[in-house]
C-alpha cells in the first residue's frame, strides 16, 4: 500500500501512514524497529496462521526513509531454526525487540516457548554486525530460576553508562511484574533490577534522560482504575521508585514511549480504560509528571478502520532527521507504520 501523505517538509506538518508488507501471515503482532545505516529503518514482528501457532515466524522488512517504502517481508527466524540453534524443543515464537548494544551492533531479542502458554516464555538474543544483513545464531538468556521460563520482552533495549546493555523484561508466571536486565557484551544476563512486583504490571518501557535519570512505564493488568503505571530512577537504575498509577488510562495494553530531541516525552498508548480501539499520543514537557493528549490517530472518524478494531503494541522511535515513527498492530492482521514530524505533532489535533 503506498503511503498516505499529509505533508513532506520539516517546516510543514508531515503525516504518513502505510501498512507493512504481509504476503503470508493471517495474524501479525508486536512490531519493533531500529534505524540502520543508509537512511533506513529495519522492522521485525511475528506472524503466522494465528498467535501461538507453530508456523509463527519472526518477519523483517526494511524501510527507506528517503523513498518512504518498505521492502517485501522475509522470515528472520523460524521455530525450526530456533530449535536447531538453541538445541532444545521450541513450540512457538513470540515478541521480538530490536536495539543496539554499546558496540553499536544490532541486537534482536525474541521470545520462544517450549511448553505451555506465554507464561512459559524465555528470551533469546541474536546479534548482527552488518546492520541486519546476517545474524549470529540465537543464544538463550537466563533470567529466571524456574526452568528459566516466564521471561518476556516488549520494551526498547537501552545501554547503561558502563556499557552494559539494558533489556526491560517482564514475568507472567503467577505474578506479573517488570524487571530491567543487565547484559554483558556477550549477551549474558549479569544482573537485574526489579521495577515492580505483585500481579498487575508488565511490559516495561524505559526512557532514559541522562546517565542517572530515567522513567519507566508499564501496562496495568490489575483491578480498576485502569491506569498506566510509572516508575522512576535517579541513580542510573540501581533503585526505582515504587510503581505508581498515572492519570493516563490503560486497557491492559502495551505502551510505547520515546524522549524526543529537545526534551518532550512522547507516549503512544490506547487512550481508553476498557478497549484498544483508540490509539493516541500524549506529550509531557516535565518528564512524565503531567500530560496532554497531542494526537489521536486510530479510533477517530478520519482513519480507515481495521476489520477488527484493535490497535495495539505501539513501538515508537525518532530517526536522526527528527521524524517520529510509530509501528503497531492494526487489527491483528497487519503492522501499520505512521510517520510524522514535530510540526504535525504540535499542530492542532
Amino acid at each position: 500500500m503506498p503511503p498516505q501523505t499529509a505533508g513532506a517538509s520539516a517546516a510543514t506538518p508531515r503525516y504518513e501512514t502505510q501498512l507493512l508488507p504481509n504476503s503470508t501471515a493471517q495474524s501479525v503482532h508486536s512490531a519493533t524497529a531500529a534505524e540502520i545505516s543508509g537512511g533506513r529503518l529495519v522492522a521485525f514482528w511475528y506472524g503466522g496462521s494465528r498467535e501461538g501457532a507453530s508456523d509463527v515466524a519472526i518477519y523483517t522488512s526494511v524501510y527507506s526513509l528517503k523513498e518512504g517504502t518498505w521492502s517485501p517481508e522475509r522470515a528472520a527466524m523460524t521455530r525450526e531454526l530456533a530449535q536447531r540453534h538453541l538445541q532444545r524443543y521450541i513450540r512457538k515464537l513470540g515478541n521480538p525487540v530490536v536495539g543496539r548494544d554499546s558496540k553499536g551492533r544490532l541486537c534482536l531479542y525474541f521470545v520462544s516457548v517450549s511448553v505451555g502458554g506465554w507464561a512459559g516464555s524465555a528470551v533469546n538474543l541474536m546479534v548482527s554486525e552488518d546492520e541486519g544483513e546476517t545474524w549470529s545464531p540465537p543464544r538463550r538468556l537466563v533470567a529466571s530460576p524456574f526452568f528459566n521460563i516466564s521471561t518476556l520482552v516488549k520494551g526498547v533495549p537501552l545501554v547503561f553508562s558502563d556499557g552494559a546493555a539494558g533489556l526491560p523484561a517482564y514475568h507472567e508466571l503467577l505474578g506479573k511484574f517488570g524487571e530491567l536486565l543487565r547484559l554483558d557484551s556477550e549477551g549474558h544476563v549479569i544482573g537485574k533490577m526489579r521495577l515492580s512486583w505483585g500481579q498487575s504490571s508488565l511490559q516495561p518501557v524505559i526512557v532514559p534522560r541522562s546517565d542517572k535519570e530515567a522513567v519507566g512505564f508499564m501496562r496495568y493488568s490489575g483491578d480498576p482504575p485502569n491506569r498506566i503505571v510509572m516508575v522512576r530512577t535517579g541513580d542510573g537504575g540501581v533503585h526505582w521508585s515504587p510503581p505508581a498509577r498515572t492519570e493516563l488510562p490503560n486497557p491492559n495494553s502495551a505502551i510505547g514511549s520515546v524522549l524526543l530531541s529537545g526534551g518532550p516525552l512522547l507516549l503512544a498508548f490506547n487512550n481508553a480504560a476498557e478497549n484498544r480501539e483508540d490509539l493516541s499520543l500524549a506529550l509531557s514537557t516535565d518528564f512524565g509528571n503531567t500530560w496532554r493528549i497531542a494526537r489521536r490517530f486510530e479510533g477517530g472518524s478520519g482513519s480507515p478502520q481495521a476489520p477488527v478494531p484493535e490497535y495495539s503494541y505501539p513501538w515508537i522511535m525518532q530517526d536522526r532527521a527528527g521524524d517520529v515513527h510509530v509501528l503497531y498492530t492494526w487489527g491483528r492482521s497487519r503492522i501499520k507504520h505512521v510517520r510524522f514530524n514535530r510540526a504535525w505533532l504540535e499542530g492542532r489535533p
Binding site: 538445541q87 532444545r88 543464544r139 530460576p145 524456574f146 526452568f147 508466571l173 554483558d184 549474558h188 549479569i190
Partner: protein, 201 residues
C-alpha cells in the same frame, strides 16, 4: 563454534534420563551385563536425534540446564544402579536435601515477584551470597557432609568456567526438579508415618 552449554546442557538432561530409567526399573536387580546393555540402549535413545532433536534436547526444552545438585544425585544414582554400590550415605543425602529445601523456600517464592526483594539477583556475584555459601560449605566440610561440599564445588567450578548460558550461581546450585526431589524425600516418610491406623483406641 558450538558452545559448552550446547554440549553440557543436553548431556546433563540425558544423565537425568538415564538415572530415572535405571532407578525406575531397579537396574541393579538385573545381571551385570544386562545393566550395561540397558544403559547403552537408554543412552542411545536419549542422545540419538529423532527428527532433528534428541530426547535429551526435548527434555532440555522443558527443564533448561540442570544444576550440580541434580547432576551429582543423578550420577550417584546411575553409579549405584550399575555397580550395586552406594556412593552417598543416608546422613549425607538427608543433609543435602535439607539444604536444598531451605534454599528453595528462600529462592522460589520471592522469584515469583511477590515482593521487591529478589534473592535470585544475589546469584549475580553478590558478596553476601558467596560468603554465606562459603560458610555453609566450610561447615559441611567440618561435619563431614561431603555430598554438600561436592555439589558446591562442582557448581562453583561450572559457574567459573561458564559451562552454561547462565551467569547466575543459583542456576548451578539448584533447580526446581531437585528441589521437588528433596521435599518429597524429606516429607514422604513423615506423611507415611502419620497415616491413621484402623486399630480401635
Amino acid at each position: 563454534m558450538i558452545s559448552a552449554s550446547a554440549i553440557l546442557g543436553p548431556l546433563g538432561c540425558g544423565l537425568l534420563g538415564l538415572a530415572a530409567v535405571a532407578s525406575v526399573i531397579r537396574l541393579r536387580r538385573l545381571p551385570v551385563r544386562a545393566r550395561y546393555a540397558v544403559m547403552l540402549v537408554a543412552a542411545l535413545a536419549a542422545f540419538v536425534p529423532i527428527g532433528g532433536l534428541s530426547i535429551a534436547a526435548y527434555v532440555r526444552g522443558v527443564t533448561g540446564d540442570l544444576s550440580a545438585a541434580t547432576l551429582v544425585l543423578a550420577g550417584a544414582a546411575c553409579f549405584t544402579q550399575l555397580t550395586g554400590r552406594t556412593l552417598t550415605g543416608h546422613r549425607d543425602k538427608q543433609a543435602l536435601c535439607w539444604l536444598l529445601a531451605l534454599a528453595a523456600a528462600f529462592l522460589y517464592p520471592f522469584a515469583l515477584g511477590w515482593t521487591r526483594f529478589d534473592p535470585y539477583a544475589l546469584g549475580f556475584g553478590s558478596v553476601e551470597f558467596v560468603t554465606a555459601l562459603l560458610l555453609i560449605t566450610v561447615a559441611a566440610w567440618v561435619t563431614r557432609l561431603n555430598l554438600i561440599v561436592l555439589v558446591v564445588v562442582v557448581a562453583a567450578l561450572a559457574f567459573l568456567a561458564g559451562a552454561y548460558e547462565s551467569r547466575n550461581l543459583w542456576d548451578y546450585l539448584i533447580d526446581p526438579l531437585v528441589s521437588v526431589y528433596a521435599l518429597v524425600r524429606l516429607l514422604a516418610p513423615r506423611i507415611i508415618f502419620r497415616q491413621p491406623t484402623n486399630r480401635s483406641p
